[in-house]
């Protein structure tokens, strides 16, 4: 069970959150210019490291705001924003 540091509500239990996957995946600025490979990359390809990972969390049962977090996927240690 994770204790996640919501930047607005403080440390809260994992069950209050919704996971948003890898952070920093921006919507393509010019979608119509994208080819199939670039779309596949945007939609489906993701980093999946064993170690430090920057990810999105949504405090759905709290303040209902998104935030980024860095976590070690091998140990669950929190590495700060």
């Amino acid at each position: 069970m994770l204790l996640l540091p919501c930047p607005w509500c403080g440390p809260r239990d994992e069950v209050e959150f919704h996971y948003g996957g890898q952070a920093g995946i921006a919507y393509p600025p010019d979608p119509e210019a994208l080819g199939d490979e670039a779309w596949a990359d945007y939609l489906f390809m993701r980093d999946n490291p064993r170690g430090a990972f920057a990810e999105r969390w949504y405090h759905v049962h709290g303040c209902r705001r998104w935030f980024d977090l860095r976590r070690d996927t091998a140990t669950n240690d929190l590495l700060g924003a």
């Binding site: 996957g21 596949a40 390809m45 064993r50 990810e55 996927t73 669950n76």
Partner: protein, 397 residues
């Protein structure tokens, strides 16, 4: 009986398979048996069959929705039906029937659609009413006065279970007998590259091994290996949990699964209830999951099977599964010559063990995708020809 030799790795092989779980061992076995490719090495970072192969809930079925899936899972089920004879080992393969329960109208519609799709693909499937569910499995609570009442179920009578560790031992022993080297405690730390980026071998903790072809069959750790050659995959790794109860008298004669309330359970021959829980939503390689996942699963299980309230939980554990966006596997070539993939089986790979090895072996031996594997190529994420099996995959992700 003699099992497999503890082989010393040679300096070079025709094929190196990375991952000594069921799928990797089956790949090596069928390379040798079906294609005469015997100069094969399986490298395993831990001990043989010590990962997800020995951590799953051993459910075997083939009742998937789409033609592509029905074809590969049914091929696998047919192989299971002759596997003990083929490998010469008792695998405790038991076709005791798999029930998939439906709990709301959408579930019922999806299930009926799947039964009809299965019938068209010659996969055995039946629809049971709640009364028929109660006759087939008397301990299921089919009362309408529960939170998620049972509105019916699909039944695949040819589905069942097998003893998972013996499956790994059986494939290893049979492959070894045909000349395959199985090297345990050899973790891959990098890849040898040739002209044009071709993958020409693996660096392991037990030395460098050259290879004509390298196959990554490493389940939850496939992304970590692929990253070593700069390959990014549509996979996310999550812990999937399972648990067993103390030993009980026989109470459950079939496999029962429920997508909606997230229970899947069978009773092992020894007597323990073997139950699967869900995946943690977040990426993780910790081989343990969050307790609330178990808690939620147990609450639903006790409502569905009131008799389970007497059972004590003995042990829980987690395995790292590689989940793909469409809940279907990724099998075949990669953008790098000499490198093949078999991954993305997510939460339900055990049932596919023989079929998965069969099609990957054919793909490697011929250098082009086998008919059954072709739809599952990595290219489908670019072409858009996804094979969405979230409805049949049983574990929500």
């Amino acid at each position: 009986m003699r099992y497999w030799r503890a082989a010393e790795p040679k300096r070079s092989y025709d094929v190196v398979v990375v991952g000594g779980g069921g799928h990797g061992l089956a790949t090596a076995y069928y390379l040798a048996r079906n294609h005469g490719v015997t100069d094969v090495c399986v490298v395993e970072k831990g001990w043989l069959g010590g990962g997800n192969t020995a951590r799953n809930t051993t459910i075997i079925r083939s009742n998937y929705l789409w033609d592509e899936s029905a074809a590969i899972y049914e091929h696998s089920l047919k192989l299971w039906e002759g596997l003990e004879e083929d490998l010469g080992l008792d695998l405790s393969f038991s076709q005791r029937g798999v029930l998939n329960l439906a709990h709301d109208l959408q579930d019922v519609r999806g299930s009926l659609r799947r039964v009809n799709a299965n019938a068209l693909n010659a996969v055995d499937a039946e629809w049971l009413t709640p009364a028929e569910v109660a006759r087939f499995c008397p301990i299921v609570n089919v009362s309408p006065r529960v939170r998620y009442p049972v509105l019916g179920a699909t039944l695949q009578r040819r589905g069942g279970v097998a003893r998972h560790d013996r499956v790994a031992w059986g494939f290893a022993t049979a492959a070894d007998r045909l000349g395959v080297d199985i090297v345990e405690h050899a973790e891959v730390t990098g890849f040898a590259r040739g002209p044009g980026g071709r993958v020409t071998g693996v660096d392991t903790t037990r030395g460098t091994v050259a290879a004509g072809s390298v196959a990554l069959v490493a389940a939850g750790h496939t992304s970590v290996l692929a990253a070593m050659v700069g390959l990014r995959l549509p996979l996310q790794s999550h812990p999937l949990q399972a648990l067993v109860s103390v030993l009980l008298e026989p109470v459950l004669g079939c496999v029962v699964m429920s997508n909606a309330v997230h229970v899947y359970v069978s009773q092992a021959d020894k007597g323990e209830l073997v139950m699967g829980a869900g995946v943690d939503a977040h990426n993780s390689y910790t081989q343990r999951g969050s307790f609330h996942v178990i808690e939620r699963q147990m609450a639903a299980a006790v409502e569905l099977f009131p008799v389970f309230a007497h059972a004590k939980l003995l042990r829980t554990w987690g395995g790292i599964v590689d989940v793909s966006p469409d809940a279907s596997p990724i099998i075949g070539r990669t953008p790098l010559d000499g490198l093949f993939l078999n991954c993305g089986w997510g939460t339900g790979g055990f049932k596919a063990t023989p079929g998965s090895g069969w099609v990957l072996a054919e793909t490697i031996a011929k250098g082009e995708p086998s008919l059954l594997a072709a739809p599952f190529a990595l290219e489908r994420f670019t072409s858009g020809a996804l094979i969405d099996e979230h409805g049949a995959a049983a574990v929500a992700h």
